[in-house]
Amino acid sequence: MRSALPALLLLPFAAVAASGDASCAACHKSEASHFPGTPMGLAALSVGRCDILQKHPLLEYREGPFHTEIKTEGNRSTITVTRGTETFSTPILYALGQGKAGQTYVFQYDGAIYESRASYYNAIGGLDITIGDIGTVPQTVVEAAGRRLAPLDAANCFGCHTNGAVVHGMLHLDAVTPGVGCQSCHGDVERHEAAVRSGNVAAARLPHLGDLAAEDMLELCGQCHRTWAQIAQTGMNGPNTVRFQPYRLTNSKCYDVDDKRIRCTACHDPHGQIDTNLASYDSKCTACHAAALHTKTCPVSKENCVTCHMPKIDLPGAHHQFTDHEIRIVRAGGPYPN
């Protein structure tokens, strides 16, 4: 629950002017060199930097009487929707998401931000309906192009996918830096940088995220990946919840609010790529489940734990299988646990 967070956890949405990650790189070389190429670093892309748009100069999608095209030429992509003689056409501002699973586009029209109704899905190599729009029927060419976002929703959207653009809950498009940045998690990096330059060690201190307990870290990461409270409050159930890793992890039997061995960064390097070698996660499991620790161990296997205990779940409409972060003993044919 955002409102119940300690002050430091509110920082992703706080009023911080973009300092620029380049200045952070001067001291934090290792983190800064890896981060821009990670899924978080690529959470939003300008058209020129978007591989998917560059590699697919024409994407098409048909829905009832509406025909959608996304045409890319150089650094410019245009979304065009036609129905008979009616046409709506507007440039795309940003692509949201790296596209490993999917990618959605945003554009501006009539003073508002719109989320494209068609998204690119990697598994099908083309466009299909955006997952949040399933079950809705567009009435106009504009509605077929995208869903108008209320200012608050637009701010939330850009608050997670970009940095520097949301000040006091208001979106400032002119200040957008695409992708998650240092300040998104670490807070007031501008103050930090100024204090470092002036030699004021005390003022330079930033919250040390490495000290966070599991619960606090899930709250921090959950500001974008959704917290347990946010999802529980919606009452959502079924495979739809699989996208919200902090919620699923919290529901795990082995989750412990205080234990750093079960927090997000126990398995994921926030400055690095996601490790696709599933065996690499075994050591995280055996940090708790080991004979030497007199804890429960797996009678079936000692390796590739996540392949059984964190199964891949097919999310309808997403054309992608998501790893279920509710760590559990999976019974063959058993239901998805809510």
Binding site: M1, S3, A4, G169, G235, V257, D258
Partner: protein, 377 residues
């Protein structure tokens, strides 16, 4: 409320007509003082009248008419706490004086002490059952207190007696819609609309859209109402609420502030503005929730929001106490259990965190089982 705005005007100056004392003396005898007070009161010099009433009452402290008139003069100047004191003194001497009871209720109502106003009006109606004006005012109190069922019980019999009373239709429609009886409520709205387009009817339709969580539909209705009568009480409060739910925060805040400029005690406007300001201005947000709670003492939603503010402001112990109380009152409220889990976490009560989370998952599972016609586990 619109209806009560009319009602209040109807009750003003009830007691002056009771005057039966008209004496004129060469020196300020008690009777002369009273006469002078009445003259000043009639001429609109309320400050002068108050001084004369007080001088008279120093000598004759047990004249209920003078006490009541003093109360009326004080109320006219907006000094409701003092007016209430005087009305109460008058009622000690004449407990069954209906006009004074009514004025006392109005003084409570105008000073935003709705609970006491309702209690006084219940007394009035106990002695004069079926009286239209006190019934309308009492039903407005019930609506402000969120006691919609009581308003329905009070108004439904009156509606059968006077089926073409627009004010009554409006109040009853309001109560029904807020109680979730939207179909019945909208029948009354149709009756109001028979006489032509009206802001009141669109306000009610907008409210019913809010209940159905159709906020865009609600905004459309409220905009129609605003085009007809932008001054309609409560309209901007509900309009702001619908806009806030659509994420149109800047427009919502403007509408809510407009409502509060007209009626600082509007529950919906105070509550919603408190919610809007929660993230950026905790102190102001708290002040609005407290005011909302003043309108509806014991209101679950306002107490819940205050508990969230306590969590946000690092007062987990206060939040815990409030949330434990809320979950006792309504054990099926998922939001309160979620927030209570957070409070326990802040207090390092791990077992209790897990217990609350288990309750939440169970409640959500039951909800889904109920929706799909199955059982939870």
């Amino acid at each position: 409320m619109l209806v009560c705005g009319r009602t209040l005007a109807g009750f003003a100056g009830l007691i002056l007509g009771v005057s039966g004392v008209a004496l004129c003396q060469d020196h300020p005898s008690p009777d002369a003082l009273l006469h002078q007070a009445l003259e000043l009161h009639r001429s609109g010099d309320f400050a002068g009248a108050i001084a004369e009433y007080r001088a008279y009452l120093e000598q004759v402290p047990d004249n209920p008419m003078a006490l009541s008139n003093l109360g009326a003069a004080l109320a006219h100047g907006g000094d409701f706490p003092e007016a209430i004191v005087e009305y109460r003194k008058a009622l000690e001497l004449q407990p069954a004086n209906l006009p004074v009871q009514m004025n006392l209720a109005l003084a409570y109502y105008k000073s935003a002490d709705i609970s006491h106003a309702a209690a006084e009006l219940e007394r009035v109606l106990g002695e004069r059952p079926g009286e239209r004006q006190p019934a309308l005012l009492l039903s407005d109190c019930y609506l402000r207190l969120g006691e919609n069922r009581k308003a329905i019980d009070l108004l439904a019999p009156l509606e059968q007696q006077t089926p073409d009373d627009k004010a009554l239709d409006y109040m009853l429609g309001n109560a029904l819609i807020r109680d979730g009886q939207t179909a019945r409520g909208e029948l009354l709205v149709d009756r109001i609309l028979r006489d032509g387009d009206s802001a009141e009817a669109h306000l009610l339709l907008g409210e019913s859209r809010i209940w159905a969580q159709d906020y865009a539909g609600a905004v459309t209705e409220f905009q129609k109402a605003l085009a007809i009568n932008p001054q309609l009480p409560s309209l901007n409060g509900y309009y702001g609420t619908a806009l806030a739910n659509l994420g149109e925060t800047a427009e919502a805040e403007a509408a809510l502030r407009k409502e509060l400029a007209a009626d600082a005690n509007d529950y919906a406007a105070n509550f919603q503005l408190g919610k809007l300001l929660m993230r950026d201005d905790s102190a102001q947000s708290r002040a609005y929730f407290v005011r909302a709670l003043g309108q509806r003492p014991n209101d679950f939603a306002a107490r819940y929001q205050l508990a969230l503010l306590d969590l946000q402001d690092s007062h987990p112990e206060q939040a815990r106490a409030a949330l434990e109380s809320l979950t006792r009152e309504n054990p099926r409220d998922v939001r309160a259990h979620i927030a209570l889990a957070t409070a326990y976490y802040k207090l390092k009560r791990k077992q209790d965190v897990n217990k609350q989370r288990a309750i939440v998952l169970e409640l959500n599972a039951e909800k889904h089982a109920g929706a799909s016609g199955g059982t939870s586990k």
